[in-house]
């Protein structure tokens, strides 16, 4: 495959907010002393009066966002996934989710690829937490193109949205000229008949690479990008279960509660097939370069290939 340009989706987030600020005058951005890291500083530079720093107080920031949304503004509350979904969980649930307020949560530095900061900052539980809140839309974009599209889709969606962004630069494989993003609609990237690899976030590109390699080994793998974890595109997932009879999920998140769990829930009710989950196996991460950690934790095309081969052999 040709070398693709890489970009971290947190940069896509900051740039998209800045690009959309003129079009959506009700758009405000909140931060908790991380405007540099979450890249909302890009928005702040262009719209200083519409950027509110709440200080290192994520719980309060979520409440501020709720209050602003109640008056008709569209606030993007930004922090690291660990603090946005983790520390502020109960505020997100009670002050945003329960009254279904129009708050968007931009959570950067998600997953193990945070790298050197280590386990305290590697949030592998955010999708699980956010997915349990009724009415919460949960989006995990795979690249720059999708991340930008997700930001605008979130603005246009009436209700709370959680969007997950990464710190690590990842290949831009979706063509911005033709890519269409729709909340809740998965994207089938290639067809296949032996197995379906369902991936989300930075694992989508790994899944595409894995499918290429599997083809050389005579295995026909379908690849589906699930950018919206909730509401899940059950129709596409169940169709894949029926037509390929085997699913391997891949996510940079705990195997508990995230994409793998959502897929299991969908297929076990409507078309039970074997589902093998690739993700962080109920352990904490640790410090190290992001690329090395992804390999170590099995979040790689190599591990997808090996997992698929084993599962297909057992089919």
């Amino acid at each position: 495959m040709a070398d693709l340009v890489k970009k971290a989706t947190r940069e896509s987030y900051g740039e998209a907010l800045a690009a959309l600020g003129d079009k959506y005058e009700n758009l405000y951005v909140l931060d908790a002393d991380l405007a540099g890291a979450t890249k909302t500083g890009i928005f702040k530079k262009k719209f200083p009066d519409r950027h509110i720093d709440c200080g290192i107080a994520e719980a309060d920031m979520m409440g501020i966002a709720a209050g602003m949304a109640s008056t008709g503004k569209i606030p993007f509350a930004s922090s690291f996934a660990m603090f946005a979904a983790g520390r502020a969980y109960e505020i997100v649930r009670n002050s945003i989710g329960y009254p279904h307020l129009n708050v968007k949560i931009g959570a950067t530095h998600a997953g193990i690829s945070v790298g050197e900061d280590g386990a305290t900052h590697q949030c592998n539980e955010d999708l699980a937490l956010m997915r349990t809140i009724p009415g919460m839309t949960v989006i995990n974009p795979a690249d720059d193109t999708e991340a930008r599209a997700a930001v605008e889709a979130a603005i246009l969606h009436d209700g709370p949205v959680y969007i997950r962004f990464g710190r690590l630069a990842v290949p831009i494989f979706n063509d911005p000229a033709t890519y269409k993003f729709e909340i809740g609609k998965g994207v089938q990237l290639r067809d296949g008949s032996d197995v379906t690899i369902i991936a989300t976030g930075l694992m989508v590109y790994e899944a595409i690479k894995a499918a290429e390699e599997l083809k050389n080994d005579g295995i026909s793998a379908r690849v589906i990008n699930i950018h919206t974890i909730k509401p899940l595109d059950k129709e596409l997932v169940v169709k894949a279960a029926k037509e390929t009879g085997l699913i391997v999920t891949a996510e940079e998140h705990s195997i508990i509660g995230g994409l793998g769990a959502a897929v299991c829930e969908a297929v076990c009710e409507e078309c039970p097939v074997k589902v093998v989950r690739i993700g962080v196996n109920d352990v904490f991460g640790h410090s190290g370069p992001a690329a090395d950690l992804l390999k170590e934790f099995g979040l790689s095309s190599e591990n997808i290939v090996a997992t698929v081969k084993k599962a297909v052999a057992e089919k």
Partner: protein, 280 residues
């Protein structure tokens, strides 16, 4: 305060208290003590201070009210009902299956409720967000929030306090209902938030104190708050938990329990006597 207005407020507050008892009795659960301690303050706000529109509850230029101590919803519901947001009779449906009047304030379904609250420490943040929103848009409405004194033990309150002072939210008035009691006992015994006034001063707030059961004092405090610029105001009100029902006054056991039929009848009879005296 004008004597006629004072008399009217006293009468209304007494009816509001009856509504609280009615609601909690019919729910067979709820929080009467802290509801009764804020009955006069809420009556003053909704009948003499706030610009609100019962026929059009969501009008954008209305003043906002956030009951950060959301468990005292019976007081808010009773005031809203008496102000005409929904029928007073509906208070009897408090906490019932299928009722709008949830155990804690629900902005999605109850007319006049500006913020969903109940989990302590969160309402004040939302109130800050509303006040900031007005500043950002040049809107002139004010935001009022009522907190419990025990609620001050929540760290989020102080995050919000820091934020409000930093952003000079002079359109925000917080009231701390200092009745001195929380579920586990006296606030000074459980995990003391005292000195409340010095803490808020240190956080950059203008501090006012008032007697929560004296409308002259209440009016004076809220009028003073209106004159303060460039900083938020906190009104620390000295109140009596359970105020107006003799056997509930200053009794921690009435924080979160409902009267039985005999107790209900006694409470209503006391409040009716108070009302009769006021109406003279």
């Amino acid at each position: 305060m004008d004597e006629l207005l004072k008399k009217q407020l006293q009468i209304t507050a007494c009816k509001v208290r009856m509504g609280i008892i009615e609601g909690v009795y019919n729910a067979k659960s709820g929080h009467p003590g802290g509801s009764l301690s804020i009955a006069d303050t809420l009556t003053y706000l909704y009948f003499a201070k706030l610009h609100v529109y019962p026929d059009n509850p969501k009008l954008p230029d209305r003043d906002r009210f956030v009951l950060s101590k959301g468990h005292t919803a019976p007081a808010l519901y009773s005031v809203l009902a008496h102000r005409g947001f929904f029928p007073v009779e509906e208070l009897k449906t408090l906490r019932h299956i299928g009722a709008r009047l949830q155990g804690h304030p629900d902005m999605k379904h109850i007319p006049g409720v500006d913020m969903t609250t109940g989990s302590l420490g969160q309402g004040i943040s939302a109130a800050c967000g509303m006040a900031l929103s007005a500043k950002l848009s040049g809107d002139t409405y004010n935001v009022y929030a009522v907190l419990g004194d025990g609620e001050l033990e929540e760290g989020q309150v102080w995050e919000a306090a820091m934020f409000a002072a930093h952003y000079k939210l002079d359109n925000l008035v917080a009231v701390v209902d200092n009745n001195g009691l929380q579920i586990d006992g006296k606030i000074s015994d459980v995990c003391s938030p005292y000195p409340i006034d010095e803490k808020f001063k240190a956080f950059g707030w203008h501090v006012v104190t008032m007697d929560a059961h004296d409308f002259d004092s209440i009016e004076k405090a809220f009028n003073e708050a209106e004159t303060i610029v460039n900083q938020p105001t906190v009104i620390i009100q000295t109140s009596v938990k359970g105020k107006g029902v003799s056997y509930m006054e200053n009794q921690v056991s009435w924080h979160g329990s409902a009267p039985n039929t005999e107790q209900y009848e006694q409470a209503m009879s006391e409040l009716k006597a108070q009302l009769k005296e006021l109406e003279g």
